[in-house]
Symmetry: D2
Subunit: 351 residues, 4 copies
């Protein structure tokens, strides 16, 4: 793309950030579609996937994109300015490290790595370059409601945070979803929310398993209640319930010393005088209606950060957040088979 010459001024149209996408399953394909249709200032230039056919199909809907065979080719391509990683989690560490080595900003879907140690490698590698490279895909940080609660808290409107109550509900989950998935796939969002809202480390976690719904598969404790305690003593409850057979709901309440506030309550179209003497509304079937705008905002913020050279957006989760989440998840997993709370000690945070 060349610059358009203005008749009056020397300002040129900025070139789009060229994004390479690794992994175009459901989430990666959504990102390609997002970048191609809604994200200003970016376009998808190179795509790879384990399944070449999938990559070809997704590329066909992303004008100007081409398909390559390997993640390494995406990262090293000359026409890739920034890398978006949506491959399976076990590949994230190495791919992020490769992007850092290539000096290319990266937006990596969660998790950053499969264990705290691997995640810490990324923290150190990025720190070693002296620059920011890594954004982690905790998109709720870009949700309007999350932002409103964060702003109210930061403005002191609620006083000191004492308790953070989280609820996370899904209509259903895929077969094979276990207690470990409950921690690493579901609770991980609230674990990052703690970092986002409270900006301090979790020091212990305890898992409680109430009686399960009859809709839960054998072996899954559903609902599950996780209790976290932060360094300054804020208590966090996270109620996870993934087989409601209803819809997707995420609610967050901050109980503060000067007031409490809740986000994520049902809104939108409210019907009355419904047949059968009912009133109410609809719960979305999955996370898309609730968080679609947050995904768009996340990627748009990332592109803007790449364009202005800061690489990581202000509200974005960083490699350190990814490491902290990995450490808390590991402890939460341990607490599934432990009595009482499991303590967490994080490694040193590079300054």
């Amino acid at each position: 793309m060349t610059a358009t010459q203005s008749a009056d001024r020397q300002t040129t149209v900025p070139q789009d950030i060229r994004v390479g996408v690794i992994g175009v399953g459901r989430m990666g394909a959504d990102h390609v579609e997002r970048i191609s249709r809604r994200i200003k200032g970016a376009r998808v230039s190179v795509i790879s996937d384990y399944l070449r056919e999938t990559a070809e199909k997704v590329s066909a809907a992303a004008p100007g994109s081409r398909v390559v065979d390997t993640p390494e080719e995406v990262i090293s391509a000359e026409d890739v300015d920034a890398v978006l990683i949506a491959s399976p989690g076990q590949f994230h560490r190495d791919q992020v490290l490769a992007a850092i080595a290539a000096g290319k900003p990266v937006l990596c879907e969660k998790p950053l790595a499969m264990n705290p140690s691997d995640a810490y490698d990324v923290v150190l590698a990025e720190h070693g370059t002296g620059r920011a490279y890594v954004s982690l895909g905790f998109m709720r940080r870009f949700d309007a409601g999350y932002g409103q609660l964060k702003d109210a808290l930061d403005a002191g409107e609620l006083g000191a945070p004492l308790i953070l109550n989280c609820k996370h509900r899904n209509a259903d989950v895929l077969p094979g979803f276990t207690n470990v998935h409950m921690v690493y796939d579901s609770a991980v969002h609230e674990i990052d929310a703690i970092s986002f809202f409270l900006e301090e480390p979790v020091v212990s976690v305890q898992t409680l398993t109430p009686r399960s719904t009859e809709n839960a598969p054998e072996g899954l404790s559903d609902p599950m209640l996780l209790l976290f305690r932060t360094a300054s003593g804020t208590l966090v409850t996270d109620e996870l319930y993934v087989n409601t057979r209803s819809g997707y709901e995420v609610r967050t309440e901050l109980v503060g010393s000067q007031g409490s506030a809740t986000i994520g309550q049902e809104s939108g179209l409210v019907s009355t005088q419904l047949p059968g003497g009912r009133w109410g509304g609809a719960v979305p079937a999955d996370f898309r209606p609730r968080f679609l705008d947050a995904y768009d905002a996340e990627v748009q913020a990332w592109i803007a950060a790449v364009a202005d050279g800061t690489n990581v957006a202000v509200r974005s989760a960083t490699a350190w957040d990814g490491y902290a989440a990995a450490a808390v998840c590991e402890a939460a997993e341990q607490s599934l088979s432990a009595d009482g709370a499991v303590e967490i000690t994080l490694r040193e945070r590079p300054s």
Copy 2:
């Protein structure tokens, strides 16, 4: 009071139930005013209080009532059909036992006794008579919202109960309010709510103390989170926060396998276009606006039960509920200084 003779029929006007009231501090005086002004079919006939002067003053506003010196005189008075006990808790056990011995139905404010053993004495004494005598003043059972949630649960509309989330908030508490009061005065209401909604015993309790509000007096853990587990595995969370400096709020959410439901959310007058770009409503200053109707309904149901000879209303808390609450409170107090959950084993329930 003599019967009015009907010209047409032999039916006579039923005589009012004559209620003796022991203890007329704030709560007892409220009951006297309630019975004198709003409760159909009852009147206060005899009053006693530790402070004779207080008794005289309260009696002056209860037409037809007289003052006696001792609780024993109230219980044994010929013009007392039923006894309402609102004296300090340490006297409840003996006064209730005396009422049972006198064959008079009794409505006793919480607690039934100061410890589980004393409470169990009452259970056995009542059981020994072969009749029902004891209603315990857990008035929330008569709150319209509690009733709606109980009905929805009993009707199967929510499926099996998995988690019960309770929130209990006060603007402030009296000086000298400690963690023990938090359990015995505040949490006790939710402890009985478990009996009411779930109809099964609590088998363990764990107390968690987050960072406290700066408004809490030294030594009080405020807010406090209690976790209960019932025999069938339902988990109950009880968030107590008694120095909000705002108002009185009690909310209850039942998370079920077929749906969830909440009571106690703010309602009433909703204002919009308020100066300063605000919308919203008011939180009542104390429990009276929220539960005044429940108190009235409780006493009216009690009078109806006394009048029809069943003595205890269907939804009323019984001596057994009082014993169970005492046992759970004792364990909750122990858990304040314990790691993890404290287990609870109830004595045998007389059939």
Copy 3:
């Protein structure tokens, strides 16, 4: 009923107010049941009905009551202290006048009379005695929500009232319900609400008939919109819709110069995670759940006023309110077949 002698004091138990009830169809029978079971300080002593059998049946459930043949016998009975009129509307004027003549306080169900002229007769008759005798059964004045809105308005929290928006909805109506019933039976409640909230006369009314629901019987304009203007220029909209096939809803919004406020929005049990991805609550089938407490409060306030000799409760609708409502209803009926607004001029109000 004789007084109980107190051992300590000379205060006697006050005798119950003995209420005579004229007309015990559904509404009158409800009142008999209410007075017999829930209203403190009153009992039903004498009953009459056009159908003797109905009167006997209702009387059987009102201990101490007897049946007489005529309304006149109810009014003149020695054992009747106050009269409750729930007969068909065409008899109200004469029965109220007879009660006034007998010097007995009366609670008359709406309407006070079948036309403004007849209603004004009652105003003058009561005024001629120099005392208050007449309470009119606009029970919404005793609804908690109405009270909250009235209090907010009187306290100046909303500034000057500019617009009052009313909505009045029923699931269905009896066969034979016509546009005239819509005015005289449904809208009349909001017409009195104008008197209650705004305390000034209506000076014009205009009726608008949108497209009707397919559920409305032939000839009924349903929904219907009535527009009222008060002396000071407040505009009132009243949206009536009586075949919603859903439930009973009454909502009122006051738009003021310093804020707006709404009452009657759905509350109670709020369910989430319902099957089918729904959330919401229930709308009551008819007016009883919504206004049962208001009816009780209305009658209790009336009994208290009779007992203290003021005869009419502070918030109660008076004969003048009944006359004003009749005048507005007449104009609203005229406006059904008129273009534009119909003006209303009230007669002089006796001071």
Copy 4:
């Protein structure tokens, strides 16, 4: 901008639609900023404004844009593919006609013209070309809530539309705002909403002016109530209140024969336990928080329509909608000084 050659495929990156913007006051400048930062597939290429300095300033923030002296130069520029008109309303007709004549799609802010006759000229001119060119800036059609209500209506969930209740509130308005502005600037949004939701013409309008708020300037009737009737008999109420001194609120309720539904109720962050015993939330200060997304969606939909050659988005208001709105506004203005309703007869709609 030239195409990027793909190594694997012949697909090229599509060129951005080059937008010329006429008038860059507040609204036009917002559009330039929107297109430059958030609208995918478009960029601002040419700008004109009555104030050259303003145009230069706005252009400086739109990379690749240049400034020209006249609207005509914008329309005829080779590097302008589509025209956005945000100049004062009196110039709209001629500028839109010029864009049609140049064969360039145009998004024109409301109004389309200053009177129905001028607006109809545009309808005919566009119709004469046999193609669609004109989108009108009624952005509420792209609001998520409007979309939900429209979808529910179209799906038959609410049955037949009987009444549409609209409320439109502003914290304040600029000095000099008169009753005529109330109609043409404020009510015009709801007038188009009628077209959007009900898809049929308005046949009469009546204006009612209640007592005004003390905050309204001399001569402004605030609040104002407009009543519209559509061809099939649906009644529309539009309550306008532009000096609430609070914030911006737009609420819409559709009363249908099978159910009713409301959009625009307060949501977002809901606070409880606020100091002073309050609960509630914030009302936005102006329309931007409420409708920012709608503006973005409107322009994005327009760009997509231009790119695919249909020129006008499916949900967009057309020249005909602009003509109809002008006709209704003219009648509403007449009704300000008329008794009763003013009838509206539209000219023939070209097929």
